[in-house]
């Protein structure tokens, strides 16, 4: 057999005396070899461009700017002492937490509204509501930028119609922060809506009927039937969105580039500025590694939720 040479190491040789069994063994060997070969491109891709860079980032973050000497945790300590970086930590957390809470809230409301209306028209409404999510984020953020433009602002025009003063949308720290959050909520809410809508549809109708017979009102149905049934999906979606929002780059980069006075920088945009634009690669790597603890925390619980969910489905 020509393919006998590709049997993976560690495979126990066939010990059985029966000829049929040994050929079965060989078949099994061949099967797992094929299986491994089919996975090989995936393993290579992920190994070379995800796993290796992740470890390489740790190594990079411990070098000095010219990458000639090992400085240990010096870069991390340097960043933590910097006022700008403290602002980055604050803004990243503010941005991610506020945006995720708002997205979850609006997504939940929208999913309920959608669930109320009949299926045929639902598709049209869903299509309209998904538009923000379909347009590439980098492009729609350009439109937001243009709407926030200081001198030709479309929003300021509306404010002026009501006799209000111009608002420097992206020119003042707190307003700019709120603007970045607004764009993220606008973009991300449709995703929550479709996830929650799917979860709502999977709640069996009998549960609501049983609750009605027991005299539950709408609020009680929401808290004692809908929410417990959706608990898993809600947590998976929220944690997943937390990861994506926390690591967001496009919105802040295009809308403010971190300004005014570095007040809207998040980890990703700050890493880009110091790592790519200023050429201090180790410092940039250190900056983006600060994201790791919160990402690992969220990823752990997402994974747990998904495994639980899979088991529930299988049961």
């Amino acid at each position: 057999m020509a393919d006998g040479t590709t049997i993976p190491v560690g495979m126990t040789p066939a010990r059985s005396n029966a000829g049929g069994s040994s050929s079965m063994k060989r078949f099994a060997n061949r099967k797992s070899t094929t299986a491994f070969l089919l996975c090989l491109p995936l393993i290579l891709l992920v190994g070379c461009f995800v796993v290796y860079p992740a470890f390489y980032a740790i190594y990079l973050s411990m070098l000095n700017k010219k990458m000639t000497a090992f400085v240990g945790l010096g870069n991390f300590a340097f960043l933590l002492k910097r006022h700008t970086f403290q602002l980055v930590i604050f803004q990243s957390c503010l941005f991610a937490i506020t945006a995720v809470v708002l997205k979850a809230f609006f997504g939940f409301i929208l999913a309920h509204l959608m669930h109320n209306i009949p299926g045929t028209t639902q598709k049209i409404w869903r299509g309209l509501l998904l538009v923000p999510w379909v347009i590439p984020l980098a492009l729609s953020t350009l439109t937001w930028w243009w709407m926030f433009d200081p001198s030709y602002s479309a929003f300021n025009w509306i404010l002026n119609q009501f006799g209000l003063d111009n608002v420097p949308w992206l020119g003042v720290g707190w307003i700019a922060r709120l603007c970045t959050i607004t764009v993220n909520v606008w973009f991300g809410t449709p995703f929550f809506m479709i996830m929650y809508l799917a979860a709502l549809k999977s709640v069996p109708e009998q549960l609501y009927e049983a609750a009605s017979i027991d005299g539950a009102n709408a609020r009680q149905k929401l808290f004692f039937v809908t929410l417990p049934m959706m608990r898993n999906i809600i947590s998976i979606t929220v944690l997943f969105s937390l990861i994506v929002t926390f690591a967001d780059f496009d919105i802040v980069r295009i809308l403010t580039s971190g300004g005014p006075q570095d007040q809207t920088h998040v980890f990703a945009t700050y890493a880009f500025q110091i790592g790519i634009q200023s050429g201090d690669i180790p410092l940039g790597a250190a900056d983006s590694l600060f994201m790791f603890p919160i990402l690992a925390f969220a990823a752990f619980f997402v994974l747990r939720g998904v495994t639980q969910r899979t088991k529930e489905i299988a049961a």
Binding site: L42, S140, F272, A299
Partner: protein
Amino acid sequence: MSATTADSHVFRKTSLHRQRLWALWGSYAALAVFVVIFLVPPFYTIVTSLKSSAEISAQSGSPWMVNHPTLDNFWYLITYPNFQTYYLNSAMITVVTVAVSMTISVMAAFSLSRMGFWGSQTLSTGVFLTYLVPPSLLFIPLFQIVGWMGLINNIWCLALLYPTLAVPFCTWIMIGYFSSIPKELDEAALIDGASYVQILLKIFIPVAMPGIIAATIFAFTVAWGAFLYPLAYLYTSNQMVLTVGIISDLIRGDVFQWGKIMAACLLASLPPIVIYAFLMDYYVAGLTAGATKG
């Protein structure tokens, strides 16, 4: 509110009916408000793209209206060589990414869901975890790695990097779809003497077509809209893709040609919008597959 009694059966029915109707119209009204708010930016993109630069800078009247609609911006872009390059680059990289990602993930998903080998369970979990690693965590070490390969400012570096964003989730979707195919189907084929490759090509891919469509759309979305990698690794206009090309080309210093920028955004958003308009159901089904089963 008094509790309805058993004798007023008719009253109860109509009141419930009225309640339902109110809930329905209330939902429509609330949804309409949301839709209007959500569609403000796309609407404003269209409005601006139809204006000439003179009309935009004149600032007379409402910015939300077009007084002299013109297609000049679109015509300028279509005949503008740089914009053509960006569009072609985007299309080329997207096609390559989708083809590569789908090949890798379909093969891996078939192997992980049906054949299995030592460590395949761990690999499935690992693939899902990879999906949770954001590009903003890896772009700095990747900058070095792309540099070693001599691919800085070379559009083909994207063809290597985009699949890392698409493959984990595509594999995850496909594992789900492949696992839902009854085992009897491939056992029957095995007994008939089919090889694994034949089973994959003749049974699994046709049966799991909805999943393949969903995964393809995901790969397309990722490749068409990615922003960080091209921004970090490409800097001359002949190598750029749409997302970064529009920003770096149409914004020169302090001069913002907003009419053209908005027209370019519109043209660049067209392919995703068209694809979603036709295939949204597949995508939503694929995305929520884990959530709705059972």
